[in-house]
């Protein structure tokens, strides 16, 4: 008799002789225990569950740093290099943001992550009539290269790695970063960092798009191609599932839609760039959310790594292992923050951060406890960094690679999530790829449905939320909130007007004309003309304006 059949026999005995009598005396808390994905969790996991799935160590896990990368992209993981402590930050003027960055670095942050205000994300200068309300609110205002210079005052651009959450205007902003670095003698080929540049998820969830999908894809693709040739240490895209999760996606949807987006980008770069997959794929990076449901989140990250490795190897014939390794940034889930009893959020984010670390993240942002009420203050951000530092230095979880591997439950759950995610990718394939799926509203609808179902479950009490539907208290949260100084708007606008007045008009116009021609000629890569325009002191709004004229603007069909 094999070990597994012997085990199954013993299990049956245990169920009958031990569990059944106990259940009569003490029934379980619920008839069914479900994960957030809706997977039914069994009472106990043993090698029998893995045998059910023909689980095999070498095939499903292998070794960290080797195919299929389930255990992590690097052989020694955090023993060699800890994850980057990278808090997403930026607000008000360039001066405010510079102050915040230097503060973050002074208390132990190890990389920067730039937040831009909505006008910057949507290609509008701060003096545009639609922009006025939003200047400096959710990030720093970045209409020109001057602002970038101020943000990085006394910060060594050649040493620090910088991540930028910017998509529809990614090339404009990256060009400003390059221009400032070059003015300080730092060559673009040595810059390290990441640019989000993931326009597809804007149409699905985040809504900060400008142009229609096709020219937007060309724009994103051109950045990837340019970086592959000129910026070998720069991650040219951060393909994001975070926003799907925030909009309501389940864990399997989150990774499936992200990988389906990634497939679309790879196809476009191969087609447009005529460069081999191994030349650009090592610089594709990812971004996921970490929720409080600990084990399912860990399983999600591990499943995503294994799936990407398989996609790159089997679909795209990648040969370089670096093309197959999924590296990702994590942010704790903003939607799980509560405005009620806000300090409880610290406990939530600690568990979420633990999930990210046990899932093998490369960098991490921990939300601050006050963010369901406003932008975080210095004090609350410091606690977010401290959460990361306690995990890294005190908890011991970073001392061995993928410590939960081999847990019957974790491995079973990793397989379950993977299986469900493949089904969603198959559906996207069946619809004709992600762009078509977006046009048909498939991911949007799935996510909106899931968000509504979640809300209904919260209201019925099926999903407990401490402070909201469980242990709620009558209270008015009294916490210190950060307010953006309304004067910022005027300061930014005045500086922009002065900047515009001091330009070589002829040079500027000729560069903008060159950009227009490039935009209209589909064969051209759009990156260099934008970089040249930025160097000739074109503003973000002017560059985006040229592209709007050439490509038009996108108005999304509203699905709810």
């Amino acid at each position: 008799m094999s070990d597994v059949s012997k085990l199954r026999e013993k299990l049956k005995e245990w169920e009958k002789e031990v569990v059944e009598p106990i259940l009569k005396k003490l029934p379980e808390r619920k008839a069914k225990f479900l994960t957030e994905e809706g997977i039914e969790v069994r009472r106990l996991y043993t090698p029998a569950e893995l045998a059910e799935r023909n689980w095999n160590y070498l095939e499903r896990l292998g070794f960290p740093g080797s195919y299929p990368f389930t255990r992590g992209p690097y052989p020694t993981m955090y023993r060699g290099r800890p994850w980057t402590i990278r808090q997403y930050a930026g607000y008000g003027s360039a001066e405010d943001t510079n102050t915040r960055y230097r503060y973050l670095l002074s208390i132990g942050q190890t990389g920067l992550s730039m937040a831009f205000d909505l006008p910057t994300q949507l290609g509008l200068d701060p003096d545009h009539k639609l922009a006025w309300y939003e200047v400096g609110k959710v990030g720093v205002s970045m209409p020109s290269v001057v602002e970038m210079d101020i943000v990085f005052k006394d910060i060594p651009m050649g040493k620090i790695s910088t991540s930028m959450t910017i998509n529809a205007t990614a090339i404009e902003v990256l060009s400003m970063y390059i221009a400032v670095a070059e003015s300080r003698g730092v060559d673009k080929s040595t810059l390290t960092g990441t640019i989000q540049n993931d326009i597809l998820k804007e149409y699905i969830a985040r809504n900060n798009y400008i142009y229609p999908p096709e020219p937007s894809m060309r724009y994103a693709t051109d950045l990837i191609i340019y970086a592959a040739k000129n910026m070998p240490r720069w991650n040219s895209i951060s393909i994001s599932g975070y926003h799907f999760e925030e909009a309501g996606a389940t864990p399997a949807m989150e990774i499936a839609f992200t990988l389906a987006d990634a497939i679309e980008y790879v196809k476009w770069v191969l087609e447009r760039g005529k460069i081999p997959v191994d030349k650009f794929a090592p610089r594709l990076s990812f971004f996921f959310a970490a929720r409080t449901n600990l084990f399912e989140q860990i399983a999600k990250f591990r499943a995503a790594r294994r799936m990407w490795a398989k996609i790159m190897k089997e679909r795209f014939g990648a040969k370089n292992p670096r093309s197959m390794m999924l590296r990702f940034h994590t942010q704790t889930a903003g939607v799980l923050l509560t405005a009620q009893q806000p300090l409880v959020n610290l406990i939530r984010t600690t568990i979420q951060a633990l999930a990210a670390v046990l899932g093998g993240t490369q960098s991490l942002h921990v939300n601050s406890y006050d963010e369901a009420l406003s932008l975080p203050t210095e004090e609350s951000v410091k606690l977010s960094i401290r959460v990361q530092q306690v995990l890294l230095y005190e908890s011991g979880v970073a001392d061995t690679v993928d410590p939960l591997a081999g847990s019957y439950y974790i491995e079973w759950l990793t397989d379950e999530i993977e299986e469900r995610a493949w089904k969603i990718i198959d559906e996207v394939d069946r619809l004709g790829g992600m762009i078509r799926a977006i046009e048909l509203g498939y991911p949007q609808r799935e996510i909106a449905r899931s968000a509504y179902e979640w809300q209904v479950k919260v209201e019925k009490g099926e999903v407990p939320v401490i402070g909201v539907n469980l242990f709620a208290e009558e209270e008015v949260p009294s916490i210190k909130v950060l307010k953006v100084d309304p004067e910022v708007r005027q300061r930014v606008i005045e500086r922009l007007r002065k900047f515009r007045a001091q330009r070589d008009q002829t040079k500027l116009e000729s560069r903008l004309n060159a950009l227009r021609r490039a935009a209209e000629n589909e064969e051209d890569n759009i990156f260099d003309p934008i970089l040249e325009a930025v160097k000739a002191k074109a503003t973000l709004g002017e560059i985006s304006g040229v592209l709007r004229e050439a490509w038009g603007e996108w108005r999304a069909p509203e699905v709810f």
């Binding site: 994300q121 309300y133 939003e134 909009a247 909106a448």
Partner: protein, 146 residues
């Protein structure tokens, strides 16, 4: 005379409550607005969902055109004071006196300020859908629309 009054009131009663739901400003976070739109619809309210990137002018124009009974706007970017103030100003200019409900990430102090400005109610994160539906209905009733 009496007959026609009865007819008129019947007509008012049978008219479905109409609500505008919009993302005011440039903020793209539309999960909350969509969930609210769906909950209102499921509760029998006619929802005109305007979607993202709506200027105050767009919302007022839609409210007039659609003969709305109540306006719901969602803002998570921190620009709620300025945006809602302009929205209310514009509504006044156009003689549009229907209640405005605000949702999103609103710091506690600003809740009071918005109400002082004339906002009917501010509904932050964690508000049950049941309550949201009640508020919309009550808002429309109190303003004599239905």
């Amino acid at each position: 005379m009496i007959q026609s009054q009865v007819e008129a009131s019947k007509k008012i009663q049978s008219k479905k409550l109409r609500a505008i739901v919009a993302k005011l400003g440039l903020d793209g976070h539309d999960r909350g607005a969509k969930v609210v739109a769906r909950a209102l619809r499921d509760a029998g309210i006619e929802v005109i969902y305007l979607g993202v990137h709506q200027a105050p002018e767009d919302v007022v124009e839609a409210a007039l055109e659609e003969d709305a009974d109540v306006v719901g706007v969602s803002i998570l970017s921190g620009s709620h004071i300025e945006l809602v103030s302009d929205l209310l100003k514009l509504m006044k200019e156009k003689n549009l006196s229907i209640p405005v409900v605000v949702g999103g990430i609103i710091p506690p102090d600003d809740v009071e300020e918005l109400k002082k400005m004339g906002v009917y109610e501010v509904l932050g994160p964690g508000t049950p859908l049941r309550r949201i539906v009640e508020i919309y209905k009550k808002a429309a009733e109190e303003c004599g629309r239905k």
